[in-house]
């Protein structure tokens, strides 16, 4: 006898498809569709994954070294000055490099966007403008491709999925004026994860103190950091979110070289050999690298991509299409150029960053 399921929304999972017209019916025996997850996996492995990460921070905070440490590969070379004759950049520029990384059966097309020149001048007002513009431009390009009548079957996704913001630790203080401004602007358009690199300059007490101050500043200024809380989240998800928020900002160390562990010479570790001791990047007592890596790679990699699509891109898309509708309704004869927004009108609507 079929039993009718209750019509109230289920708490499990925020993205489950609810359909009140389709009551759930128990199966009499084997059907076989539960292997769809394997089929999906096979298809996805064939396609490969795209992940776009951006690093933002003053020069010299350890961004490039951290990325190389995170992906255990030599991906970024530092964009800072090495010669006195190199001029000091006066604006923030954007530079993106792409690599294909393979781990096991998974191919990852990784794009890293670096922002050399950010906050490197005396007057840093509006140094974040090129960054916000770049992020929005990627959304805009994707939207345009989506709206074309003859569009590609697989649009290349250049939207930034994760933005690592590197904070410079200040003794006894929390965020600087610049940090607050930039974090607010970025948190509106992208998933932001704040990081303190080169944290080996801080003793453990200093780290705890700095984190406390910075976290209270996040609250005070209403900076909404990833991971976001969703209305229908499982308890497990909430617990993980809570744990991550208690760790932000992550205190990490970057290491470009590996060498034998001092006490276990057969094991190679990545770390730093200072004059008074050896720092192991993957030792939780030394820094929070493993937590951040687990967060970004092991537990939340797909969620970062998904959230960019579902939250940031959707928000951008909604705003743009509404603006387009208004401008085409009020402006020239409603030719209904919804399919392929003509350049002038789209410029009008999309220009207001």
């Amino acid at each position: 006898m079929a039993s009718v399921a209750p019509l109230s929304p289920r708490p499990a999972g925020s993205f489950s498809i609810e359909n009140e017209q389709a009551p759930s019916v128990p199966l009499g025996g084997y059907v076989g569709f539960q292997t769809i997850t394997d089929q999906i996996q096979k298809r996805m492995l064939q396609r490969g994954f795209e992940f776009n990460i951006m690093v933002v921070g003053q020069s010299g905070l350890g961004k490039s070294t951290f990325i190389n440490t995170l992906f255990n590969a030599s991906l970024l070379s530092s964009t800072g000055r090495t010669l006195p004759t190199t001029p000091i950049p006066q604006t923030t520029s954007i530079s993106t490099t792409t690599h294909t990384l393979t781990e096991g059966p998974v191919r990852l097309h990784l794009s890293i966007t670096d922002t050399p020149g950010f906050a490197d001048t005396i007057n840093n007002d509006r140094c974040w403008d090129p960054i916000v513009k770049y992020i929005k431009d990627q959304h805009s390009a994707f939207l345009r491709k989506e709206l074309t009548a003859q569009r590609e079957s697989r649009i290349r996704d250049t939207r930034i999925h994760c933005c690592l913001y590197f904070v410079k630790p200040r003794g006894g203080r929390g965020l600087s004026e610049l940090d607050v401004m930039v974090l607010k602007k970025l948190a509106d358009v992208v998933n932001v994860v704040p990081v303190i690199a080169k944290s080996d300059s801080l003793t453990l007490e200093e780290r705890a103190e700095v984190k406390e101050l910075i976290r209270s500043d996040f609250q005070k200024y209403g900076i909404n950091l990833y991971p976001y809380s969703a209305p229908f989240m499982t308890d497990d998800d909430s617990a993980i979110n809570h744990q991550i928020h208690s760790l932000i900002p992550f205190c990490v160390i970057g290491a470009s070289s590996s060498f034998p562990h001092p006490s276990h010479p057969q094991k190679l570790i990545r770390g730093r050999r200072t004059r008074w001791g050896v720092i192991d990047v993957e030792d939780e007592r030394h820094c929070e690298f493993v937590y951040l890596r687990n967060f970004l790679m092991v537990t939340h990699l797909y969620d970062l991509i998904d959230t960019t699509r579902e939250v940031h891109y959707e928000g951008f898309r909604a705003k743009q299409l509404l603006a387009l509708k208004e401008s085409s309704a009020g402006g020239n004869a409603g030719q209904g150029q919804q399919q392929q927004p003509g350049r002038p009108s789209s410029r009008q609507a999309l220009g207001g960053y």
Binding site: G60, S78, G80, N123, G171, G172, T274, R275, V278, H286
Partner: protein, 385 residues
């Protein structure tokens, strides 16, 4: 200002030891560069706070300006006592737009010179005048691995003509030996490239003796000084203590010359090169400022547009100083006159008051005489005893 070394009578020498050598150091650097900790380590006491006062915690990072605050402390050395003034500059480099910071700090330095200049020109000098000229500016650089930032270059260029600027790396405990060497090299290359005239422990191979030459060359090689500061103390079994920073992977000893350059800088600053820094400040930097300032005011005063600095004759300079003295005199006279007027006013007020009181007393007596009952006697409210 003349140091008491010239006195030879025994009581005066006692006074000298009690008063101590006066020395002023300014520390400049963005927050997070190790400035505050260094000062506390240098003075061996908690002189500066990392936190602003509780009232300011609300606005802790809406810094709109550099604060300049001078704090005095006594340091007891082996042979001398130093009356050290530390000038801290919180807020520098922490704002969104830091353009204004330079003028403020430079203004402070020049104001101290101005005070000495006007004091020197006074007809009657103040025997207790305190010379607040800054003898050394320690500029704290973050070891980014990319040399100097624009802010660093600009600040050192602007301050170097007015004070002895010594660049330091405030937090060097993170650097491996290779990284430290790289950072020092890049910073010194930038300093040379941008021609920043820092204080580089000058010596003359011909004039000075070998020991001095070697000492100074050694200190010059250490530039910028790699510092580690700490107020944390580690106690050993025998009761001795050293200042340390403890990490999960090891311990850094602040006073160990193999671990950092703190002890080298401390002895140079407070012992071996203290006199040199003061001399350069007075004989060279101050004199330059004085010349520039006086020739500037002569230039602006004269109507002829083609008066160049070279063609100013000494009599004009003398006139200038006479004019300054006259200005001083006039101002002092005005002040005295104001004080006189005030005193007279107060006197007359007091007289009025006394008269009023007398009146009251007399009327009271009169009432008593006419036999008013005790209960009807009303006490004059504000009668002073």
């Amino acid at each position: 200002m003349p140091m008491p070394q010239s006195y030879s009578r025994a009581p005066r020498r006692g006074k000298n030891v009690k008063k101590g050598v006066q020395f002023t150091v300014m520390v400049v650097g963005a927050s997070g560069t190790g400035r505050t900790t260094f000062v506390n380590t240098l003075c061996n006491k908690h002189l500066l706070d990392h936190y602003r006062d509780a009232n300011d915690a609300e606005n802790a990072h809406t810094e709109h300006d550099v604060n300049i605050r001078a704090i005095n402390t006594e340091l007891d050395g082996e042979s001398t006592r130093i009356s050290l003034t530390v000038v801290d500059t919180p807020g520098f480099g922490d704002m969104l737009d830091n353009e204004e910071s330079f003028t403020k700090i430079l203004g402070y330095l020049e104001r101290q010179y101005d005070e000495v200049l006007s004091e020197e020109s006074r007809i009657k000098r103040n025997p207790r005048f305190r010379d607040n000229r800054v003898h050394a500016v320690l500029y704290f650089i973050l070891p980014t691995g990319h040399g100097l930032r624009e802010l660093d270059i600009e600040l050192m260029c602007r301050l170097a003509p007015r004070a002895n600027v010594i660049p330091v790396i405030g937090k060097s405990d993170t650097l491996t030996p290779d990284e430290l060497a790289l950072n020092k090299r890049l910073i010194m290359e930038d300093i040379e490239h941008y021609r920043i005239p820092i204080y580089n422990f000058p010596y003359d191979i011909e004039e000075d003796d070998d020991e001095t030459v070697e000492e100074n060359a050694d200190l010059r090689r250490k530039l910028p000084f790699a510092l580690v500061g700490s107020e944390e103390v580690e106690t050993f079994d025998d009761g001795s203590t050293i200042r340390v920073r403890t990490f999960p992977w090891g311990t850094v000893e602040v006073d160990n010359p193999d671990h950092c350059d703190f002890s080298a800088l401390r002895s140079a600053l407070l012992e071996t090169h203290l006199a040199d820094l003061k001399d350069i400040t007075h004989d060279f930097l101050y004199e330059n400022y004085r010349t520039e300032k006086l020739s500037r005011s002569v230039n602006s005063g004269s109507h002829a547009a083609d008066v160049s600095i070279d063609s100013i004759d000494p009599s004009d300079l003398a006139n200038q100083s006479v004019r300054i003295k006259e200005e001083q005199l006039r101002r002092e006279e005005e002040k005295l006159r104001d004080i006189e007027l005030k005193v007279q006013r107060e006197l007359s007020e007091k007289r009025q008051e006394l008269l009023a009181r007398e009146e009251q007393l007399r009327s009271l007596e009169a009432r008593l005489a006419t036999g008013a009952t005790p209960s009807q006697q009303s006490l004059v409210p504000s009668e002073t005893q």
